[in-house]
């Protein structure tokens, strides 16, 4: 009985870790200087069924797309959508940090720079 409980606990821990894993795709983008013009990137990203949230930082030239639990999105799809919106992706990375964490990091950096 104890063995069964222990196994269940391990399994539920593992599964919960999988279920709550966050995947955020972070792209560095050239040419993104105007919010009115860059709204196309946000709208195209939000239109994807995999997207949970989108973050755009003009000063840092960053677009971050946080995916819903269990969802995946290829780097090429992100690159193509940003290109379609009129911009150029210079690099792309996948992180496990949610957008709130990424945003807080940039805000802290910008605050320090002031």
């Amino acid at each position: 009985m104890k063995k069964l409980l222990f196994t269940s606990l391990i399994l539920s821990t593992l599964l919960s870790n999988v279920a709550f894993a966050t995947q955020t795709i972070k792209a560095n983008v050239n040419g993104m200087v105007c919010a009115f013009c860059a709204q196309g990137i946000e709208k195209k990203m939000r239109a994807l069924s995999q997207t949970k949230d989108v973050y755009v930082n003009l000063k840092q030239r960053v677009v971050a797309v946080e995916l819903k639990e269990g969802q995946t999105l290829s780097n090429d799809t992100v690159k193509d959508l940003i290109k379609d919106a009129g911009y150029e992706v210079t690099s792309i990375e996948i992180t496990e940090h949610p957008i709130a964490h990424i945003k807080a990091g940039y805000e802290a950096t910008e605050k320090e720079a002031k």
Binding site: G31, C34, R61, G86, Y87, E88
Partner: protein, 223 residues
């Protein structure tokens, strides 16, 4: 006497300051519709276009033009095509070269002492625009032909400006913009308009008063 030199100096200053520039282009992103309005006493223009690709948009436009002395009025309804000829995406800047063209009907009225005339003509309006922008500075130069038989109302404009400060993507950013423009055959002078521009991710508005002390209002919105 004092005004004439200013009409030359201010646009030249604008050009000199314009080694760095920024603004919204004449079309939105692929699959979007963009509407724009530009209003003052002698020039009222509104258009809507739809971007069928990241580089091509088709639309319709209506423009009312009037001479400074009110002796001539023109109304133009046209179908338009906008093409992004080239875009340069740089780390902290973007530059664009646009083609804008239209084909439509011009209704004109010339009021001269004892000889009022009205006419309808087909008008073509091909033109180009170059713009450059960063998050802090903006420049645009536009030249567009407005031609019909025996009619030449070619339009030239230069704009430059700066933002007061940088903002986050979802905040409204205020700008100062200075524009110099002229329409051949309708105005002998260069219209100079200092404007305040407010850019948000959802809207774009400008308001100012020109060198004839007339108000000016522009807006853009993308659906």
């Amino acid at each position: 006497m004092f005004i004439k030199p200013l009409n030359v100096i201010i646009p030249c200053l604008g050009l000199l300051l314009s080694n760095q520039y920024a603004t919204a282009g004449p079309m939105g992103f692929s699959g979007s519709a963009m509407t724009m309005g530009d209003f003052n006493n002698n020039w009222r223009e509104t258009f809507i276009n739809y971007a069928i690709t990241p580089r091509d948009a088709f639309g319709v436009s209506a423009t009312y033009m009037r001479a400074d002395d009110k002796s001539k009025t023109r109304t133009l309804e046209e179908v338009t095509y906008t093409r992004l000829l080239n875009r340069w995406n740089m780390p902290h800047a973007q530059a664009n070269l646009w083609f804008m063209g239209g084909l439509g009907m011009l209704q004109g009225e010339d009021k001269q002492a004892g000889n009022d005339q009205s006419f309808d003509k087909i008008m073509v309006t091909p033109g180009v625009q170059f713009d450059y922008e960063t998050t802090r500075v903006y420049f645009a130069a536009t030249h567009r032909f407005y031609r019909a038989s025996d009619i030449n109302h070619d339009y030239s404009a230069v704009r430059t400006g700066f933002s007061f400060y940088e903002t986050e993507y979802d905040k409204t950013q205020p700008w100062f913009i200075l524009e110099a423009r002229n329409m051949n055959g309708l105005s002998e002078k260069i219209e100079i308009t200092p404007m305040l521009r407010f850019i948000n991710k959802n809207f774009f508005v400008e308001a100012g008063v020109n060198n004839s002390r007339e108000p000016r209002f522009n807006f853009m919105y993308i659906f």
